[in-house]
């Protein structure tokens, strides 16, 4: 992996100039990102297929991408179209709205495999958050109670953007706490 930010775009420019050796590198970087993004949108068992199909389209068509458009944006659109097709062409179409709930159920199973010590430390950190950042703890509390973003904003009497900033700051505090327990490398 290269150390520079905006690495995909830079590699793509190299590719456009005729350096075909970077294609595999681009695909690998995209795969990593696609996997993460798809994880939020489709069931675990289907992630691999959707990502593979998307990368295939990217590999086939990347030569024809105009230099005037953003390569990342183009690649992302391909993934989004594949995710859209996934819902429309399968029985999952009906459960689109419930998709997140199903996903969360799967996560329940997934989280059983999380490090028990980490879970314990995270709980400790949340106890701290309840003491030192009540508003953040309140957001988590409302999410647990099943409130949607608008309802959370309404109940807390804050704007949408304020909610995002509040959660962002809360996350920083939480990661600091996790770091103290040795559970956080990325800060």
């Amino acid at each position: 992996m290269t150390d520079i930010n905006l690495q995909i775009e830079a590699l793509f420019r190299l590719f456009q100039r005729g350096d075909k050796t970077v294609q595999n590198q681009i695909i690998e970087i995209l795969r990593e990102r696609f996997m993460i993004i798809a994880k939020r949108r489709v069931l675990d068992r289907d992630i691999e297929d959707i990502v593979q199909e998307s990368l295939l389209v990217v590999a086939q068509k990347m030569e024809r991408v105009s230099s005037e458009i953003s390569f990342e944006k183009w690649a992302y659109k391909i993934l989004r179209n594949k995710v859209g097709n996934y819902f429309n062409s399968s029985k999952l179409h009906k459960m689109k709205n419930e998709q997140y709930a199903v996903r969360l159920q799967e996560l329940n199973l997934y989280n059983i495999n999380l490090d028990p010590d980490f879970k314990m430390h995270l709980t400790k950190c949340m106890k701290k958050m309840v003491q030192y950042n009540k508003r953040y703890a309140r957001v988590i509390n409302l999410i647990h109670k099943g409130y949607k973003t608008e309802e959370i904003c309404q109940r807390m009497d804050i704007s949408r953007n304020s909610l995002f900033v509040l959660t962002h700051r809360g996350r920083k505090m939480l990661l600091e706490c996790l770091k103290e327990g040795g559970y956080c490398e990325v800060l």
Binding site: D3, N5, L6, Q7, I8, E9, E32, R33, I36, I37, K39, R40, E72, K73, A75, Y76, R80, Y100, L104, L107, N108, Y110, N111, L114, F118, K119, L122, T123, M126, K127, M129, V130, K134, A137, R138, V139, I140, N141, L142, I143, H144, T149, I152, R155, D157, N161, L163, F164, V165, T167, H168, G170, R171, L175, E185, V186, L187
Partner: protein
């Protein structure tokens, strides 16, 4: 691990909202596109997405954040919300002032009503066998006004009010309330002198010491409750 800067901090602030599933479709797409370009946010999501999702999944975490009793915070917390303070505090102060004024005027009205419930009866000397007669309406306090010939201001007199059976209902042995017109007043609750005949005796204390020269004056009067 290499540290990267977020390429768009405005979109970057939606990182945790994305992890918690708070973004709508448009916002989520915007953030995902940002993930394609921003190494910092991508590394964060890659490392913490499952762990942060655990935050909203875990029953233990739910219990932890629920221990605070956030249910009550909604109504009470809102009152203390800084944004609301600007509205609530002046309103509360105005309401308190309004209540004070209302109570003040009500209390004053009450005082005036009490004064209006006092009736004055003026006793005049009568011949033997005759008496003053007054009709009293309702449960009022009675001011009994009388004139004692030769009374001096500030001097002590003895005043006794007794009913038809000779029972003393009021007695003041050091009455000094005569004015310059030899007029004195006492106030008695109607409860103490219900309907009936009464005798008011006024005596000069100095004369009482010298029994030979007594100038005691009596007023007879009858009260009838309507």
């Amino acid at each position: 691990m290499k540290y990267y800067e977020c390429t768009d901090k405005k979109v970057g602030t939606k990182l945790h909202a994305y992890e918690l599933g708070l973004l709508n479709e448009t916002e989520a797409e915007e953030f995902e596109l940002h993930l394609m370009q921003c190494e910092h946010c991508f590394m964060q999501v890659k490392e913490f997405l499952p762990k942060m999702e655990f935050l909203v999944m875990s029953e233990t975490i739910a219990d932890t954040v629920d221990e605070e009793g956030f249910q009550e915070e909604n109504s009470v917390g809102r009152f203390y919300n800084l944004k609301k303070k600007a509205i609530y505090y002046p309103t509360a102060v105005l309401a308190a002032l309004a209540l004070i004024f209302i109570f003040f005027y009500w209390f004053q009205g009450k005082e005036q009503q009490t004064v209006s419930k006092v009736v004055t009866v003026n006793l005049i000397p009568t011949r033997a066998g005759l008496q003053n007669s007054f009709v009293i309406q309702g449960n009022v306090d009675i001011v009994i006004s009388f004139v004692y010939e030769g009374a001096e201001t500030g001097k002590e007199y003895s005043i006794t009010l007794s009913d038809e059976n000779g029972k003393v209902v009021y007695k003041n042995q050091s009455f000094t309330g005569f004015d310059e017109y030899e007029k004195g007043k006492i106030i008695i609750s109607h409860r103490d002198i219900p309907s009936g005949s009464y005798k008011l005796e006024i005596a000069d204390n100095e004369d009482n010491e010298d029994k030979s020269n007594s100038t005691t004056q009596e007023f007879l009067f009858r009260l009838t409750e309507n």
